[in-house]
């Protein structure tokens, strides 16, 4: 069970959070202007490093903040947590 340092609430157990998937780069403002290939890449290809990856967690049972968490997939070490993207 991870211990995630919520910027508002402090360190909290993983069971307080909802997992929101890998953090993609910012959603294009106008997807219609994005090529098919780039859209598919944005939509389906996550960062999958054996190392730090950005992911979203919502502190759903706590303050409700959506967080971007940089977590090392080899160790679970959390390198950064920030509110929002």
């Amino acid at each position: 069970m991870l211990l995630i340092e919520c910027p508002f609430c402090g360190p909290r157990a993983e069971i307080e959070f909802s997992y929101g998937g890998p953090a993609a780069t910012r959603r294009p403002d106008d997807p219609a202007q994005v090529s098919d290939a780039d859209w598919v890449d944005w939509l389906t290809v996550p960062e999958n490093r054996a190392g730090p990856v950005p992911e979203r967690w919502c502190h759903a049972k706590g303050c409700g903040a959506w967080l971007t968490v940089l977590r090392d997939t080899r160790t679970h070490d959390i390198l950064d947590v920030r509110h929002g993207a």
Partner: protein
């Protein structure tokens, strides 16, 4: 008194007698005994027959390391695979030996030992193949499994507590206690957990001295000091069995002092962990090293000093290190005749002992029990026999690195102690004392205190005075005579030196391969005394250093832990959360069959009446809606207030429809898509004011929709000025539906209910039954319908008022089954039926809900991309079985021509229509929109059913009934 109990000594309460039975024989022991010490005191030598060869086995250890003996408890507290060395003796225990038939002393299965040459490691991979494994499997399975399966749940409860601390100290031996005292005095929040029945660790078993007095005096003082401090939680008989990420350590407390509680689990979140887990003695590998009477030297020491039990009358000690010499002296002091000390080290010396340096035990002698040993020089030469009934063996000591290793800490091989010891830590922690390979008593105290001082930034405190006994070792992984005989490296799984050699010869030399091929280290003891021997043996066979061979993974649990302790109070009715509406109890009282619908709400499925069949009930409820008036409990419907200048932008970004054109007081149906362009949810959104909306979500997705909207706002659009507030639990609705709904509602409100004043898709605030209400004219049944929202506390009042006001019109409550019929008749989609996570709005013929003109919204790009590829899609159709009295099973495939081949669609729903008085269905069919009028075949295993493809609506296609 039991025959082998010494006249005095030991930490047992001799004034009290505990009576127990072993295989029917009455025996006695004392408080403070373990089952093992009591059995040994009663002269019991054989307690187990081994797994594969059915060899007799006795008690060899004194704690969790026990490599051979298992027992079973019968009666109310019955359980199998009990390790006698860790079970506190209780009055009335009914103990059985394991795996002996007809008895452990005379085991017919021992015939397996006679054919043992045929069954080396991995033999089953090479045979039992013809004609088929199934021919042999039942017999093999019968031979397997040591313990009977309990047939009733245990009497009592389990619980799990969460705990947090600055320092978790695992182990209350000298190093751990010292660490705890230093940390506690400094004011840190300390948790001390020790697997033993009482604190003291190795000091319990040997006559050590601290500050010039008996070491146990120091232990008692330390325990008392800790007990008096409010910042300390001290648990005994509590094993730290698993170390997870981020400082989470799992502890099993085996005997909590609490009524009705069998065991207690702890989830301990520790800022820092001190591993003071001690060390475990290794076996030595020689022929017959499993014969009852062969014991670990440390266990012999413990039985003499801690339990006042004489494990034999005439002893030989066999060691490769200094610690065996102390045991020899204590044996003599305990009144056991010391025949010889066999030390494999040529340079060993001890003037006070009958030492045979540079010699090894070639083999043990005896039949069921030990009668003597055959001894010879390690370098070869003349053998001699020495009579004895006890052989104390010490192969050296392994730091108990299990927890450190579970935390991802690394290990390194240390030649000076011939063992793996902790190297780098991966989580905030330190190993101290013997767990760190520092086997001296002074070293233990010093490292315990030092680790805490370093962590807390304190000056090194004064520590009590103690001596370090010398520890020198020369590894002896197996004696030369061990090849070609039964010299065990794993007793529980009956793995021999030859098995390891065979595995190595056949290519299974990697330590994980050897383990898996031979099963060494995979039994209940997880190889605590034998695994490093296996590594040493492999190193010898491969001409490598043990450090190059490496270890297998140290996996949780450190010792077996009951499933009850893991689940705690979670089992049973509290397994999963559930939700009640304010009316759930009413529904149950009315005899409704309760379904657990989406989001774990308990809702009525249908209200059966006496004498009615299921179908009759559903028909009655559905027909009442079509012809009269009914109500249903809509409490769980998801509801969100969306407020702020950018409220419209958020809704139009999240939903497919257009809302900018919506007048206040009106609502519009829309879909929510995933970014993959697939339908995720649907619902009606009302505009309350220019910048205020009410968005409804399906019951099952209500929580997910809230998360989704917040994600948009917090991640993608933090600049938007809009708030989302969850009203699902605040406002709850009862929905009044049917052609007479208006006249019933009119009796309870003075709102103008005319269609002009209150049109379809309108929302009006006012009083209903004297309650503050918001009424929405929406319909999920296709009939005139009013969704009356009141505060949660008011819903029962409203419900009663509606039933009373509608009584003269024959109002009834309906459940979700009837709702299903009504929505299918209308072709309204249902999440979980038509919407199975694979469809987009066009597939369902709802392209009209895609307001692309408004610009981008979530899912649009993907829908367009997918549809541009021109791939054929499965589309929503109506299905009329040719025989109106035949239903189409939900989920049944539609195949081309009804052939048994890949499907071209499926039936998503099929109900008995109350308006058409026949079965009607919905389905998803490849290119279905263009196939109306076609005849398709629903394929079942034993037959096909023909159905006609029609438009997916069977009642009031133009919607006048709900609009008028």
């Amino acid at each position: 008194m039991a025959p082998e109990r010494m006249a005095q000594g030991g930490r047992i309460d001799r004034d009290r007698v505990l009576r127990f039975r072993f295989d029917g024989r009455g025996m006695t022991g004392h408080p403070g005994d373990t089952l093992a010490s009591a059995l040994l005191a009663n002269g019991v030598r054989i307690v187990t027959r081994s797994f594969k060869y059915h060899r007799p086995r006795g008690i060899m250890g004194a704690g969790v390391e026990e490599p051979a003996a298992l027992a079973a408890l019968a009666g109310a507290q019955g359980q199998g695979n009990v390790v006698p060395t860790t079970l506190p003796l209780r009055d009335g225990l009914e103990v059985r030996s394991i795996h002996g038939w007809p008895s452990v002393r005379c085991d017919l299965g021992a015939v397996a030992g006679l054919v043992s040459r045929l069954i080396p490691a991995g033999f089953y991979y090479k045979t039992f193949m013809w004609p088929d494994w199934h021919l042999f499997e039942p017999a093999i399975r019968k031979a397997a499994g040591l313990a009977p399966v309990p047939d009733t749940p245990p009497q009592g409860r389990y619980e799990v507590r969460n705990a947090q601390c600055d320092l978790l100290i695992v182990g209350a031996g000298p190093a751990g206690l010292m660490a705890a005292v230093v940390a506690a005095r400094a004011g840190a929040r300390v948790m001390l957990a020790d697997e033993g029945l009482e604190a003291g660790g190795s000091l319990l078993a040997r006559p050590a001295r601290i500050d010039g007095a008996a070491a146990m005096n120091w232990v008692a003082a330390a325990v008392a000091e800790l007990a008096a401090l409010p910042n300390v939680t001290h648990l005994q008989h509590a094993t730290a069995w698993g170390w997870r990420e981020h400082g989470l350590v799992m502890v099993q407390e085996r005997a909590p002092d609490h009524r009705g509680l069998i065991e207690r689990g702890w989830r301990v979140r520790a800022r820092h962990v001190i591993c003071a887990t001690g060390a475990i003695e290794r076996m030595l590998v020689f022929p017959g090293n499993d014969r009852p009477g062969v014991m670990l030297a440390s266990a012999v020491q413990a039985y003499i000093n801690r339990w006042g039990v004489r494990p034999g009358r005439r002893a030989v000690v066999f060691t490769n290190n200094d610690s065996g010499h102390d045991v020899a002296r204590e044996l003599r002091a305990g009144g056991v005749e010391l025949a010889a000390v066999i030390d494999s080290r040529a340079g060993a010396s001890a003037d006070d002992l009958p030492l045979l340096a540079g010699q090894v035990v070639q083999r043990s002698l005896g039949w069921r029990g030990l009668r003597g040993v055959e001894v010879a020089p390690l370098s070869g030469g003349k053998t001699q026999r020495i009579a004895c009934d006890l052989l104390a063996v010490s192969g050296g000591w392994n730091p108990a690195v299990h927890l450190h290793s579970q935390s991802r800490g690394t290990l390194r091989w240390d030649d000076t102690i011939a063992a793996f010891r902790p190297d780098r830590t991966a989580q905030p922690s330190a190993s101290v004392g013997a767990a760190d390979g520092r086997f001296g008593l002074h070293q233990a105290l010093q490292s315990g205190a030092g680790a805490v001082a370093a962590h807390l930034g304190l000056a090194m405190p004064d520590i009590p005075q103690a001596e370090d006994a010398p520890y020198r070792i020369e590894p002896l992984w197996s004696v030369p005579s061990a090849t070609g005989s039964k010299a065990f490296v794993d007793l529980m799984n009956d793995v021999t030196l030859d098995d390891i050699a065979l595995a190595n010869r056949e290519g299974y030399g990697a330590v994980e391969h050897a383990k898996r091929y031979t099963t060494a280290g995979m039994a209940l003891d997880q190889g605590k005394t034998g695994n490093v021997n296996v590594i040493g043996i492999l190193a010898g066979l491969q001409d490598a250093a043990p450090g190059q061979i490496g270890t297998t993974t140290f996996r949780a649990p450190y010792t077996p832990v009951s499933f009850g302790t893991i689940a705690g109070g979670r089992a049973g009715p509290a397994l999963l959360p559930y939700r009640h509406t304010p009316l759930t109890d009413w529904h149950i009282a009315q005899g409704a069959v309760i379904y657990e619908a989406g989001a774990r709400w308990r809702r009525p499925g249908y209200y059966s009446q006496p004498g009615e069949s299921f179908q009759q009930t559903i028909d009655r409820e559905a027909r009442t809606v079509r012809q009269g008036v009914a109500i249903y409990d809509g409490a769980p419907l998801g509801l969100y207030a969306i407020e702020g200048p950018d409220a419209l932008r958020l809704i139009e970004h999240a939903c497919t429809a257009r809302y900018g054109t919506l007048a206040p007081g009106m609502g519009r149906y829309g879909l929510m898509l995933t970014e993959d362009g697939l339908i995720f949810d649907d619902g009606v959104t009302f505009r309350l004011a220019e910048d205020r909306f009410l968005l409804s979500a399906s019951t099952g997705n209500a929580d997910a929709v809230g998360l989704h909207l917040e994600k948009i706002l917090q991640i993608d659009r933090p600049d938007w000025r809009v708030r989302v507030v969850n009203l699902t639990q605040q406002w709850m609705n009862a929905t009044l539906c049917g052609p007479r709904a208006r006249q019933v509602l009119a009796r309870l409100t003075d709102m103008d209910l005319s269609t002009d004043a209150f049109p379809f898709m309108g929302l009006r605030a006012g009083q209903v039954a004297g309650l503050r209400s918001r009424v929405a004219r929406v319909s999920f049944t296709g009939e005139l319908s009013y969704e009356i929202n009141v505060r949660q506390r008011d819903l029962p009042t409203l419900w009663d008022a509606l039933l009373q006001a509608g009584a003269q019109d024959g109002i009834i409550p309906i459940g979700s089954e009837a709702n299903h019929v009504l929505r299918v008749e209308k072709g309204f989609l249902s999440l979980g039926h038509e919407v199975d996570g694979t469809v987009d709005p066009y597939d369902l013929g709802m392209g009209w809900a895609m307001a692309a003109k408004k610009g981008d919204f979530i899912g649009l790009r993907s829908v367009r991309l997918r549809r541009a590829s021109g791939l054929a899609r499965r589309e929503l159709v109506g299905l009329l079985p040719e025989d109106p009295e035949v239903s189409l099973p939900e989920g049944a495939p539609i195949t081309p021509g009804g052939r048994r081949e890949a499907s071209e669609g499926l039936v998503t729903a099929c109900v008995r229509s109350v308006v058409l008085d026949r079965w009607v269905g919905l389905g998803l069919l490849l290119g279905g929109h263009a196939r109306r009028g076609e005849r398709v075949q629903v394929r079942l295993p034993d037959r096909t059913i023909a159905a006609k493809v029609v438009a997916p609506v069977f009642h009031d296609a133009d919607g006048t009934r709900m609009r008028e």
